[in-house]
């Protein structure tokens, strides 16, 4: 079985008028960097939350490594949400202790090395860091795990171009090569060069799932240009 993530008939409806994810069926392989692309409100974050067990699907099911999302899958999924989930009062060293205690695949040495490269002292309290550095710390925590699946929700949104480069470099240099990385974003031009495959979503529907090479060969366009064409208003 080469599929890491199997999604079948997945639907999330908040109410009758608001269906965030609509009957998606998808199988994502191992060892790929996959862009989850779509305009705001297309259902990317909702899909990601369901993969992480933070939202209960209205219908359908998700399996990771053949196991339904739950306690067992959480040990193998590294998740970077689109918000700060850490307590500001904590010192970074305390957060490292926390991750080391709960995640067997967490490498404290790797995290400390990345923090050192950024010039962030482990004794620093999270609340004293800038927004950009807080996001980098969260990314470092996630990428210091040797997970089977990395799910990164909008990792480069709201940061300056230099920080985007840093974030992308951190992802590429640190992920487990046998793992799959799902990166959700609408800033396609910035991440296109690192993607193997793309999933296009619109109004909760799956519009396209294909490889980046396929888009370039068949359409003669970059992913960014093709995305603009598909989602033209």
């Amino acid at each position: 079985m080469s599929e890491l993530v199997e999604i079948e008939g997945l639907t999330k409806a908040y109410d009758a008028a608001h269906v965030a994810v609509n009957n998606i069926t998808l199988a994502l392989p191992k060892g790929k960097i996959i862009g989850l692309l779509g305009p705001n409100g297309s259902g990317k974050t909702t899909l990601i939350k369901m993969i992480n067990g933070l939202l209960t699907p209205t219908q359908g099911r998700i399996k990771i490594n053949g196991i339904p999302v739950g306690l067992e899958t959480k040990a193998h999924v590294a998740y970077l949400p689109d918000r700060t989930y850490l307590t500001g009062n904590q010192k970074i060293s305390e957060i490292l202790d926390y991750f080391a205690d709960f995640y067997q695949d967490f490498s404290r040495e790797k995290a400390e090395e990345m923090l050192n490269n950024l010039g962030i002292e482990p004794s620093t309290r999270l609340k004293t860091l800038s927004k950009g550095n807080k996001e980098k710390v969260q990314l470092i925590l996630v990428m210091s795990r040797s997970a089977d699946l990395y799910v990164l929700d909008e990792p480069i949104a709201g940061v300056d171009p230099a920080a985007r480069d840093y974030i992308l470099r951190t992802i590429i240099n640190n992920y487990n090569p046998e793992a799959t990385v799902i990166i959700s974003t609408h800033l396609i031009g910035d991440i296109e060069q690192v993607l193997d495959e793309v999933v296009f979503m619109r109004y909760g529907h799956l519009v396209l799932y294909t490889s980046v090479d396929n888009i370039r060969e068949q359409h003669g366009k970059s992913v960014d240009a093709y995305f603009r064409e598909v989602f033209a208003c």
């Binding site: 908040y14 109410d15 939350k49 992480n52 067990g53 933070l54 939202l55 209960t56 306690l71 067992e72 959480k74 040990a75 999924v77 998740y79 949400p81 918000r83 700060t84 989930y85 850490l86 307590t87 305390e94 926390y98 205690d101 709960f102 995640y103």
Partner: protein, 287 residues
């Protein structure tokens, strides 16, 4: 995993807990100072005339403030622990909590045990504070010719008298009553925390205004609790009457209240725990 969860629950709450216990100490000192007013000592003397001072006038309001502050500290901790639960389970911090490789039972139990322990500490602190006030007032009212050793020696006689009184009126010995009180002080906080956590979790079943619905849910739970208590109490009383247990008057009331309180608390705690479990495992919808 449960041990790790409890460790971090403790780490995240101990500072506020210790702060409240320190405040409790200060409040007790404040209460003690209010009992140092000369008017209290005058009650045990035979002086026919006593000039009331401003200090004396302040004493009663200070005692009232002491009682209010005790209640305030209790509810402050209760609300803090409820907010901590809400924050770590159903807001941004919940993104971390619910992606940990830990079972929902483990997460819930760690929060209930930690919060329950803190409420026990606060309950014990309030009991000790009240005891300290009894000592303060005894110091103030004790006639000078009566020594502490004399009072201590008379304690056993007083104990026996109160014990007899309890047996006559309530049908329970004083030591039995104290054991019940200790059980209530120890088990009550866990029940209180399960109740508020259950209400917060029930609030999550609504699409909007989840905090408001949690408050409404809490009030609803208290109402159901009272109604169930009343029904069970009356059923027990009926059973007691039919069974001719030999209890009379207030004894019926005491026993039936005790049994019904216990039964309803166990039922409601089980129901609300599983409500929280159901919401976190089957109906989790973090926005």
């Amino acid at each position: 995993m449960l041990g790790k969860l409890m460790k971090y629950e403790w780490k995240n709450t101990w500072k506020v807990g210790v702060l409240v216990l320190c405040c409790l100490l200060l409040v007790t000192l404040f209460g003690g100072i209010s009992l140092q007013a000369p008017v209290w000592r005058s009650l045990s003397t035979s002086a026919s005339r006593y000039q009331v001072s401003l200090w004396d006038l302040m004493s009663i309001p200070m005692l009232l403030i002491y009682v209010l502050m005790l209640a305030g500290l209790y509810y402050a901790v209760f609300i803090y622990l409820a907010v901590h639960f809400y924050r770590t389970m159903y807001t941004d911090e919940g993104y971390l909590t619910h992606t940990l490789p830990a079972g929902k039972h483990q997460i819930l139990i760690s929060k209930i045990v930690n919060s329950g322990i803190w409420m026990i500490f606060v309950n014990l602190g309030i009991c000790l504070s009240t005891l300290a006030m009894v000592v303060f007032i005894t110091c103030a009212l004790k006639p000078e010719d009566i020594t502490w050793s004399m009072m201590w020696n008379n304690m056993s006689l007083v104990w026996d008298e109160i014990d007899e009184l309890y047996r006559d009126i309530f049908g329970i010995s004083l030591s039995g009553y104290i054991v019940q009180l200790i059980i209530t002080v120890l088990a009550g906080p866990f029940y209180s925390m399960i109740t508020i956590f259950g209400a917060i979790s029930i609030g999550q079943l609504f699409a909007k205004r989840r905090v408001l619905m949690a408050v409404v849910g809490y009030i609803g739970i208290r109402v159901v609790n009272a109604l169930l208590g009343s029904i069970v109490r009356n059923l027990i009383r009926l059973g007691m009457l039919r069974g001719d247990s030999g209890d009379e008057g207030i004894q019926y009331y005491m026993r039936s209240t005790m049994y019904s309180g216990f039964i309803v608390a166990v039922l409601m705690a089980a129901l609300l725990y599983f409500a929280s479990y159901y919401v976190t495992s089957r109906k989790l919808n973090l926005e």
